[in-house]
Symmetry: C2
Subunit: 187 residues, 2 copies
């Protein structure tokens, strides 16, 4: 964003304001990613960006992911990810509804859930997104894990039981909405 505005350098306190953090926190994090600024010019935006990208995804290879559950939320995520390319790309979608099978939805091919193990393992896919109902979430997670997925983005309110080597990122929109509701009336 700043690069597009024509800026080339930035100080830790500028980033702190933009990120809602303290300058010390910014500098500490930059220690971790291993990029050094200079006292006079701060950080070079292009080099900094490069260092961050290199830290998050050193090979630069796009990681493939799958999504299970193509309701409104699943489709919204497919669309959102297509519009905002990142280091992760959702390459296949799965559902149990025959109406959705073998169609291309938001540019993503949709398969029956029974095809998941084959597609995941043969393509060596490690990342799975769950947008089914809470009741189905654990079943889907089990299927993902046994097919070789070791990192799950879980949009359901159900906490998943997975082996210790599998990472789970929970994202519960209802909890966020309730938090917003709580703090609207409690301050």
């Amino acid at each position: 964003m700043l690069a597009n505005e024509g800026l080339t350098n930035i100080y830790s306190h500028n980033i702190a304001v933009l990120a809602g953090r303290t300058p010390a926190q910014v500098r500490r994090d930059f220690m971790v990613i291993g990029y050094n600024g200079t006292p006079a010019y701060g950080y070079k935006i292009d080099k900094l960006l490069e260092s961050i990208e290199n830290f998050i995804n050193p090979t630069g290879i796009i990681h493939y992911a799958i999504i299970v559950g193509i309701g409104n939320l699943g489709r919204a995520i497919l669309d959102y990810c297509f519009r905002n390319p990142s280091s992760v790309e959702i390459v296949s979608a799965f559902d149990k509804d025959p109406m959705k099978i073998d169609r291309v939805i938001h540019r993503t091919k949709c398969y029956h859930i029974s095809k998941l193990p084959e597609i995941v393992s043969s393509n060596n896919i490690k990342i799975g997104v769950i947008t089914v109902t809470a009741e189905e979430a654990q079943n889907v997670a089990d299927m993902m894990v046994s097919s070789g997925i070791n990192s799950i983005l879980n949009f359901t309110p159900r906490r998943l039981k997975v082996p210790e080597n599998v990472y789970v990122e929970n994202l519960d929109m209802l909890i966020s909405l309730e938090k917003a509701g709580y703090f609207a009336y409690n301050r």
Copy 2:
């Protein structure tokens, strides 16, 4: 969930497993909400639920919210919230696209963004959800704040500049997806 299974009582270590926390953490949180269990029977599920609900929303009145931006994500959220009623209800939606104005989308009336100040202030609405593009996010936030909203759920990657008395909950799906991508290959 447990009540539906016919259980009436539960211990802190049971909840800890389900929530992915430690028993001590569970007991400490229950101190805060002010519900006491007994050493013999643990916690009564119905009383516990009641205490949690009472802590989050003591009046029991549903809080009204609005949403701005009725793209795929906005519609998915409307649908999701309708299916999962909580203490917060989204009562009006706003967009700038004339195609969407004055229609009812997912059971929610959609207005032109210019109607926001009037509807928010006359209904004394305190909670706003932002699902527009990153570029439009700050403008929408400013409009919300000046209309009386003091709690914002922000789905865009842009950090919002708001007065100190306004609460902002950020929910960035792309960051969550990148986190899942990172931990799939770094452990």
